[in-house]
Amino acid sequence: MRLRLEARPAPSRAMRYLSPLVATALTVVAGFIVFSGLGREPLAAFHAFFVRPVSSLNGLAELVLKASPLMLIATGLAIGYRANVWNIGAEGQLILGAIFGGGLALAFPGAESRWFLVLMVLAGATGGLLWAAIPALLRNRFNTNEILVSLMLVYVATLLLSYLVHGPWRDPQGFNFPQSRMFADAALYPILAEPTRLNAGFLVALGAVACGWLFIERSFLGYQMRVAGLAEAAARYAGFSSGRTVWIGMLAGGAAAGIAGVGEVAGPIGQLTSSVSPGYGFAAIIVAFVGRLNPVGIVFASLLMSLLYLGGESAQMELRLPSAITGLFQGMLLFFLLGSDVLVHYRVRLLPRAPAPREEAAA
C-alpha cells in the first residue's frame, strides 16, 4: 500500500479550514507522546503550555504584545510572497528600522511632542524600506536573487547595530556597557492598558494588517500582484510590470519590518541594545506561511506563534522542563501546520501496489 498525492482540480474550501484542525490533532498526539516520554502528565503539560500563559489579563497582554511584530512583519512579507518576491531578510530590515527610529530618539533626547513618535515610526519605516530596497534594486537591475541578498543583509545589519551600540551610540553614563541611553518618554509608545505592557504599537500593527488586507483583497494593484505571482508570463502579457511587482513586494515587507523594529525599541525595550529582536524577522516568515499569506490567517498564526513562546516559559516554570522544549515543540507544530496544508491543494489516495523507490510519509 502506498500513499499518493493527487492535485485537486480546485483548492478545497473545506480543507482550508480543516487542515489547521488536522495539524492541531497531530500536535496533540505528538505532544502526548513527548510529554509522556518525559514522564510528565500530558494534560498538565498542555495546560502549562497553552492555557496558563493566557489565563490572566497580563498573560493576554503579553500574548498580543509578542504577536504584534510578528503579524506586522508577516503581513508585509505576504504581499511580496503572493507575488513570488522572496524577502527573507526581514530581520535585518527590522534592525534598520530600530536603528533609524532609535537614532532619532537619541538625537532628540529633549523631544516632548506626541508627534515625535510618529516621526520615529516614519523613520523606522524608512530604514526598513531602504534596507529592503537594496535587494529590490539589485533584482531589478542585475537579476540578483533577492532571497540570498536579503539574507546576507541580515548579518550586515546585525553587525552595524553592534558597531553603533559598542561605539558612537553607547550611553556615556553607562559604564561602557554596549547599550544606548534610555529614550525620553515622548519617544516611547504609550501603554494601552496599565498595568500590562501592551502599548500603542499593537494598534499600529493592527492598522498595518488592515491596510495589508485592503491592499491584497480589495485593490487592483494587489490583484495584479497576485496574478503576477500565479503566472508571471500572463502578467507580463497583460502589461503588468514585473519590476514594479518586485519593488512593491520587497518594500512592503521592509517598511513593515522597520515599523516593527521601532515598536520593539520604542516599546518594551526603551533603548538600543545589541539584540533588539529575538528573531522576529525569521519567525514572521513561518507565521506568514502558517497564516496562508492571508492577513486574517496571519493574525491567528502570530497569536499561535506567540503562545508557543510564552508556553515554553510557562512549561519551564510549572514543569521544570528545560527551555529547549520550546524549540522542539514549536518545530513540530510548524511541521504539522506546514505539512497539512497539502490537503488544501491535493488529495491523498491510497494506491494498492507499492513500487515505491522511496517512502512517503504523508500526513
Binding site: 489565563s55 497580563n58 559598542h166 561605539g167 553607547r170 529575538p278
Partner: protein
C-alpha cells in the same frame, strides 16, 4: 478571562510578604525566582548562579520554594519573565545578568512589595538591590600562579567585550603576574561574544601559536581550557572549576560563589528584615574563590597564593594598589593609594604589561 483570580494571587502574594515582614510564623515557603540568561549547562556564569540557588535551597529546605527560568534573552522577553515571577507570588527575585537591569527596574516599580536583586547592574531602587563580586581579586591570584608557571613569560587572554568588568580582570591578572614575574606580558584577543566555543577555541590556539603558554579567559565556555589541554600548555579557568575539561592544563580558576549571599538574602527576607543590597563582595565575603590548585604548581607558589589571598582578605593587599600605570605610562593611581571603587567601575584602559591596543570605540 481569569483576571480576578490572578489579581487575587497578586494580593495574596503581597499579603504573604507583609505577613512575613511582620515576623509571623511562616506557614508558606518563601517563593523565590531566578532568571538566567543562558541555559544552565555544566560550567560558566549561569551554572554558578544555579549552584548558588541549589546551595540556598539546601540550606533553607522547606522554608523556601524556588523557581528558575533559563535562557531568557536580554531585551523585551526578560521583562515578561520577571513580571511573571512577581505576579505568581514570588516575593524575592534574582535577575542574574547585566542586560536585565532596565527590565528589573521597570517591573520593580509595579511590584513595590516584591524584593528584586540584580546582579552586576548599577541602578537601584527602594525594592531593587544590586550585587556583584570583585572578580578581579580572584584574577590577581590566578595571575600569581600564571606568572610563576609561565616559561615564555607570555600569557594569552581570551576576552568577550571591552567593558570595565572584563578590563578589571585582564588588568588584575596582569598585575598579579607581574607581581611575581616582572617580565611577564599578556596578549588579549577579543572574540566579541560571551559564548561561541568555536571562536573561543580559535582565539586560544592563536594565542598559543603566538607564544602564550598560559591561557586565561573571560568567556563562558570551556573551549579555551580544552584547547590548552590539547596543545600542552596551561590554562586558568573562569566562572567555574573547569579542571575536568583539562586535567593537566587547568592550574586553577577564579570561581564565583553566590550560595552564601543567596542564603543570607533569603534568610533576611524570611525574618522580615531584608533591605535592597548594594554589595560588591570579594574574597573576604566568600563570593570569589580559587578552585583547587593543580598539584603541578610547586608548594612555594601555592603558599605565595595563599599569602596573597590572606592579604586580600585582610585588606593589606589591593589588586590595584598604587602605583598603577596604564600602558602609556600614565599614572592612574599614585603610590600609597588604592584605586577607589568608582574608578574601578569605569575602567577603560590596559595597565602596563598588557600588549596591544584596546579596540577602537
Amino acid at each position: 478571562m481569569h483576571m480576578p483570580s490572578n489579581f487575587g494571587k497578586a494580593i495574596i502574594g503581597a499579603a504573604l510578604a507583609l505577613a512575613l515582614a511582620g515576623g509571623a510564623a511562616a506557614q508558606q515557603p518563601l517563593k523565590i525566582g531566578f532568571v538566567y540568561v543562558t541555559p544552565i549547562g555544566s560550567a560558566g556564569w549561569t551554572f554558578q548562579h544555579e549552584l548558588g540557588r541549589r546551595e540556598m535551597e539546601k540550606a533553607l529546605g522547606a522554608k523556601v520554594a524556588t523557581k528558575h527560568v533559563e535562557n531568557v534573552a536580554e531585551g523585551a522577553d526578560a521583562e515578561r519573565v520577571i513580571r511573571e515571577l512577581a505576579t505568581s507570588g514570588h516575593t524575592l527575585v534574582f535577575t542574574t545578568s547585566f542586560g536585565y537591569m532596565n527590565p528589573t527596574i521597570k517591573v520593580a516599580k509595579s511590584f513595590p512589595k516584591v524584593a528584586f536583586e540584580h546582579a552586576t547592574g548599577y541602578k537601584r531602587d527602594t525594592n531593587v538591590g544590586t550585587y556583584n563580586a570583585r572578580f578581579y581579586e580572584g584574577r590577581y591570584l590566578t595571575g600569581i600562579v600564571a606568572g610563576k608557571m609561565t616559561k615564555s613569560n607570555v600569557a594569552g587572554y581570551v576576552a568577550a567585550f571591552p567593558i570595565p568588568e572584563v578590563l578589571q580582570g585582564i588588568n588584575a591578572f596582569t598585575r598579579g603576574m607581574r607581581s611575581v614575574n616582572p617580565k611577564a606580558e599578556v596578549k588579549v584577543i577579543w572574540v566579541n561574544s560571551w559564548y561561541d566555543p568555536g571562536r573561543e577555541r580559535e582565539a586560544a590556539t592563536t594565542l598559543i601559536s603566538q607564544g602564550a603558554d598560559v591561557i586565561a579567559q573571560h568567556t563562558d565556555s570551556t573551549a579555551p581550557v580544552q584547547a590548552a589541554e590539547d596543545k600542552g600548555v596551561y590554562a586558568i579557568g573562569y566562572h567555574s572549576d573547569m579542571s575536568k575539561f583539562g586535567p593537566k592544563a587547568h592550574l586553577t580558576a577564579s570561581t564565583h560563589q553566590w550560595g552564601a549571599f543567596y542564603t543570607k538574602v533569603a534568610q533576611d527576607a524570611l525574618a522580615g528584615k531584608h533591605k535592597p543590597s548594594n554589595l560588591w563582595g570579594g574574597i573576604k565575603d566568600g563570593m570569589v574563590k580559587l578552585a583547587p590548585i593543580n598539584p603541578v604548581v610547586p608548594k612555594e607558589v601555592q603558599d605565595m597564593v595563599a599569602k596573597a589571598e590572606a592579604d586580600l582578605r585582610s585588606g593589606k593587599l589591593h589588586a590595584f594598589a598604587g602605583p598603577v600605570k596604564d600602558q602609556a605610562g600614565k599614572v592612574r593611581v599614585p603610590a600609597g593609594k588604592s584605586m577607589p571603587d568608582d574608578q574601578l567601575a569605569a575602567m577603560d584602559y590596559y595597565v602596563e604589561g598588557v600588549q596591544g591596543q584596546l579596540p577602537k570605540k
